[in-house]
């Protein structure tokens, strides 16, 4: 009978960008069980964000640095629900463009991170080089690289100019061939395929039980995508979208979903640029909010959910946010059973774990 041992994996580990702990139960080199511990980065954001609904527009971006614009979009969407305000098509389409730009940066980071976990240092640098171009583009449009601070309740804080929209279009034309070149490595490189195919399997039944979202769910055959509900600019006439779904449920499938969504994001940005017209970019709101509202957006890691209960004053009665990482990270326990110790890092990274989001 083989000896069973418990190995701690993290919270400080070279393959994790943030603190998370996996307690791996090992039979020699094989993982037979895992316990996931989070909470190393808890900051009490739900409490802080309920203190002043106006300042929360900026505070909610600080929950996470990789999907900050999605956080502010979900929050303002929930507040617009409470105020019962209709946002103009121009503001919605600009939000869509910026959300897709942020999806590009996030997916390129996740793919680069996976490449690094598999030992592809050069590929990691190539992904980050392309990501840098998108971050510089966002900097030129919004004035910030990470926290865009473009949203406000009722629309945008400032309008985008014609030159900025042309800049986005031109950058997408330059970047698309580069993304297609990187796609070949993810799909066809023999070592990459051997290290990722059939590894970290998440069956559809497990995916449904863990209620996973985003590329993790779509990599296991769950076609859930909040963009289909038509929030923000995705519901404007003329926008066409179909979710990318793979059935395999392994690390390879999850990476392919992300790679396909990178190409798809370029297409969605072009569609939104074609549909954007002159018009108002802000619908002002008056008074303090009162009532309940929800905001749901498709962040790069999956569905992001905001619930707000306001009582007619500056302080909110309750603010609840459920981030995609909060449901995706526990699913690592289902993927990891039977894997080799060397595969634990690629499996955990394939979920794109964001501990800032998860702990809040």
């Amino acid at each position: 009978m083989s000896r069973v041992s418990v190995i701690p994996f993290g919270p400080q580990h070279s393959s994790f960008l943030e603190p998370m702990n996996l307690k791996l139960v090992m039979e020699e080199e094989k993982v037979v069980g895992a316990t996931i511990n989070i909470g190393y980065n808890h900051r009490g954001m739900e409490y802080a964000m309920a203190q002043d609904y106006k300042r929360t527009v900026f505070l909610c971006e600080r929950v996470c640095g990789i999907c900050s614009y999605h956080h502010s979009s979900a929050y303002v969407q929930a507040m617009e629900n409470v105020f019962n305000v209709k946002v103009s098509d121009r503001a919605n389409l600009v939000r869509t463009i910026m959300m897709e730009c942020q999806r590009l940066t996030s997916h390129l980071l996740a793919l680069g991170h996976t490449a690094e976990a598999l030992g592809y240092e050069n590929l990691f640098m190539q992904f980050f080089r392309e990501r840098e171009e998108i971050m510089m583009l966002v900097n030129r449009v919004s004035g910030n690289r990470v926290h865009y601070s473009m949203n406000t309740i009722g629309g945008l804080r400032k309008d985008v100019t014609y030159e900025q929209l042309k800049d986005i279009e031109k950058t997408m034309d330059i970047m698309e061939p580069k993304f297609l070149e990187l796609q070949k490595v993810i799909r066809n490189d023999s070592t990459f395929r051997k290290r990722t195919r059939g590894i970290g399997l998440l069956k559809k039944a497990d995916a449904e039980s863990y209620c996973v979202v985003g590329p993790v769910g779509r990599g296991s055959g769950m076609p859930h995508d909040i963009r289909l509900t038509g929030f923000a600019g995705y519901g404007v006439d003329g926008m066409k979208y179909r979710p990318v779904v793979y059935e395999e449920g392994d690390v390879y499938a999850r990476n392919n979903v992300r790679m396909d969504e990178v190409i798809q994001a370029v297409d969605l940005i072009r569609q939104a640029l074609n549909l954007i017209r002159d018009g108002p970019f802000l619908t002002p709101v008056k008074g303090h909010p009162s009532g309940e509202g929800i905001g749901r957006v498709e962040a790069p890691r999956g569905e992001l959910y905001y619930y707000i209960k306001a009582k007619g004053e500056q302080k909110l009665d309750r603010l609840k946010l459920r981030t995609p990482a909060f449901v995706n990270i526990p699913a690592i326990a289902a993927m990891i059973g039977g894997a080799q110790l060397a595969d634990v890092a690629p499996i955990a990274v394939s979920v794109d774990p964001c501990i800032c989001c998860c702990d809040r």
Partner: protein, 150 residues
């Protein structure tokens, strides 16, 4: 906001489990988005089970008391374990077989940070008619005060 089942009255916990079970056994299987707990500041809590079902948003709501022992949804959804652990940490509610200590250190530091202080109880109006107080003598004013005799 679409509300499938909305129940804002205080009900026995068994009734609640029945309603959530009815949602969990639907086909295709709904996706549990999250569980929201709202403190009403009067010893009761509102629980909102948010589901994504047939590409639509659906809720199951109910009210519970602070000391109720609630059924866990973990037999249907593995995802509910962390959601319930978070509620145990933040609100101090009790779920069967679920322990806290996920986000906060147990028995160290802050406890149930999202609970609100209880509202002051309003004193009920007395049912028995209280007899009117006896008429008091008029207040002494400078006119009524007899002058002191030398």
């Amino acid at each position: 906001m679409t509300d499938d089942i909305k129940d804002k009255e205080l009900k026995p916990v068994n009734d609640i489990r029945f309603k959530v079970d009815r949602m969990a056994f639907k086909f295709p299987k709904p996706r549990l988005i999250t569980i929201v707990a709202n403190d009403n500041a009067d010893g009761t809590f509102e629980l909102i089970y948010a589901f994504h079902y047939n590409n639509q948003y659906t809720e199951v709501r109910y009210m519970v008391k602070a000391d109720d022992e609630l059924d866990s949804l973990s037999s249907h959804f593995a995802a509910s374990v962390n959601m319930e652990r978070e509620i145990v940490d933040m609100m101090g509610l009790h779920f069967k077989g679920i322990e806290g200590g996920m986000l906060l250190m147990p028995e160290k530091g802050i406890v149930t940070p999202l609970r609100k202080p209880l509202k002051p109880q309003e004193t009920p109006a007395p049912s028995v008619t209280v007899p009117a107080p006896p008429t008091q003598a008029p207040l002494r004013s400078s006119e009524n005060i007899p002058e002191a005799k030398p």
